[in-house]
């Protein structure tokens, strides 16, 4: 959907046009950073208010999505410091997130648990590295695009991504091991 007139020209998007086109992206990005519910709504609002304060998006080195992601990350960092709490996806939410037609109960449970572990691993990471990880690994942004949006050298993005991956994998493996120790296999409980 586009706003009218110059406000939606390819080189310029005012805040309302940005909202129409990219609010869902920002909400998804913020959700992947670990926020839920009202927090997502508040961060989305704050992000676009700042975009509005900055005069909207003008075509330049960054694309609208990564430009907004950079703002959203800063808002999220402020929100995160304020909250100092985790808001990872609960296992039950993860269960609901897995399409029921996709697999049987065992596979569905396994996947839901893995998704919950991924969220918990993400939650353990510093917000700036988490943002780079999410943008690259889940949003499919290139390192160049992230560097342009964040105003940092691409080498810094590589470095941050490298560290983020190490942190993520370490946390994921630790959580997986902990879960394996604490949760007996579902198979056998469901199947006669």
């Amino acid at each position: 959907m586009q706003a009218d007139g110059a406000a939606s020209s390819p080189d310029y998007l005012d805040a309302e046009a940005l909202f129409r086109q990219h609010a869902r992206f920002v909400a998804g990005f913020v959700g992947r950073l670990g926020f839920r519910g009202q927090d997502v709504d508040d961060i989305v609002q704050e992000t676009f208010l700042i975009a509005h304060q900055r005069g909207g998006y003008r075509a330049g080195v960054a694309r609208p999505t990564t430009w907004l992601a950079e703002i959203a990350m800063r808002v999220s960092m402020a929100q995160w410091r304020k909250r100092r709490r985790t808001s990872v996806l609960a296992d039950t939410e993860a269960w609901d997130a897995v399409p029921s037609e996709q697999a049987g109960p065992q596979d569905r449970m396994d996947q839901a648990q893995t998704i919950a572990l991924v969220h918990k691993a993400l939650d353990s990471m510093a917000m700036d590295r988490r943002a780079v990880f999410v943008l690259f690994e889940l949003e499919g942004e290139t390192c160049d695009a992230i560097a342009s949006a964040f105003g940092i050298p691409v080498g810094t993005v590589y470095s941050r991504l490298h560290t983020a991956r190490k942190e993520f994998m370490k946390a994921y493996q630790r959580l997986t091991a902990a879960r394996a120790r604490s949760v007996p296999p579902l198979r056998g409980r469901l199947e006669p």
């Binding site: 129409r20 998804g28 959700g31 709504d41 609002q45 304020k82 572990l117 080498g155 190490k166």
Partner: protein, 235 residues
């Protein structure tokens, strides 16, 4: 230098993790109501301009924390943000009704110290040889933190003056709006300014500014107080 292969495309990534990443990449964490969000956003940016500078309407939760920050000032505690307890605060003058303000003294780290637009750029990291370094955290307050402290002290003074001298409070509030144009305590100053106008008998101005305030910050923790002070009916 080319981008590394994504984990979800990398055959060396464990299958379950690759599947989970693929699922997360293709599915939004939760549905977002764009129409409702846009409506809220439009209300915020199309609100009538205030006579005073200040930030645009902020989210309720952030505004609430700003309110809590002001509560810290009310309690006379500027730097010790460690305990959490309710405090009953009554206005010292007869012209205003006593207001019960729930004051929570949060953990210091939980208080946003700066407008996010003022946050410094992320410091560039030098490419490492794969060794994760813990982030160093300076104990020196940043310029933004200093500015926030100044703003809190200014508000503390404003609150002290407001009890006895509404005209001076009005002047101080305006000064604060100008001095801390991108600060965090705009709502607190404006609420005091509206109360001061009311007590000075400038009811029309109080009502106009009160209505502007409520349009911009409909979920402000000061909304009820302002409705009473400015004589604005509740919806």
């Amino acid at each position: 230098m080319t981008d590394p292969m994504r984990l979800l495309d990398d055959p060396e990534t464990p299958d379950a993790l690759r599947k989970a990443l693929g699922h997360l990449a293709s599915t939004p964490p939760e549905p977002y109501d764009v129409a409702a969000g846009l409506s809220r956003f439009q209300r915020a940016i199309h609100a009538p301009p205030s006579t005073c500078p200040g930030p645009p309407a902020s989210s309720s939760s952030l505004a609430r924390v700003v309110g809590l920050g002001a509560g810290v000032v009310v309690a006379g505690v500027v730097v010790a943000f460690t305990a959490t307890r309710p405090v009953q605060v009554g206005q010292p003058t007869v012209a205003q009704p006593a207001i019960s303000i729930p004051v929570v003294l949060p953990d210091r780290s939980a208080v946003p110290l700066v407008d996010v637009t003022d946050l410094p750029e992320l410091p560039p990291e030098r490419p490492s040889a794969g060794v994760a370094r813990p982030a160093a955290r300076s104990s020196e307050p940043s310029a933004a933190e200093e500015l926030y402290r100044e703003e809190m002290l200014h508000l503390a003074n404003l609150r002290r003056v407001a009890g006895a001298n509404p005209a001076e409070a009005l002047r101080l509030a305006q000064e604060g709006h100008e001095r801390f144009a991108r600060g965090m305590l705009y709502q607190e100053r404006e609420a005091i300014a509206i109360g001061a106008l009311s007590r000075l008998g400038r009811k029309g101005e109080a009502k106009a500014r009160g209505e502007q305030f409520l349009t911009r910050f409909p979920r402000s923790p000061y909304a009820d107080q302002i409705r009473v002070q400015a004589g604005i009916a509740s919806h």
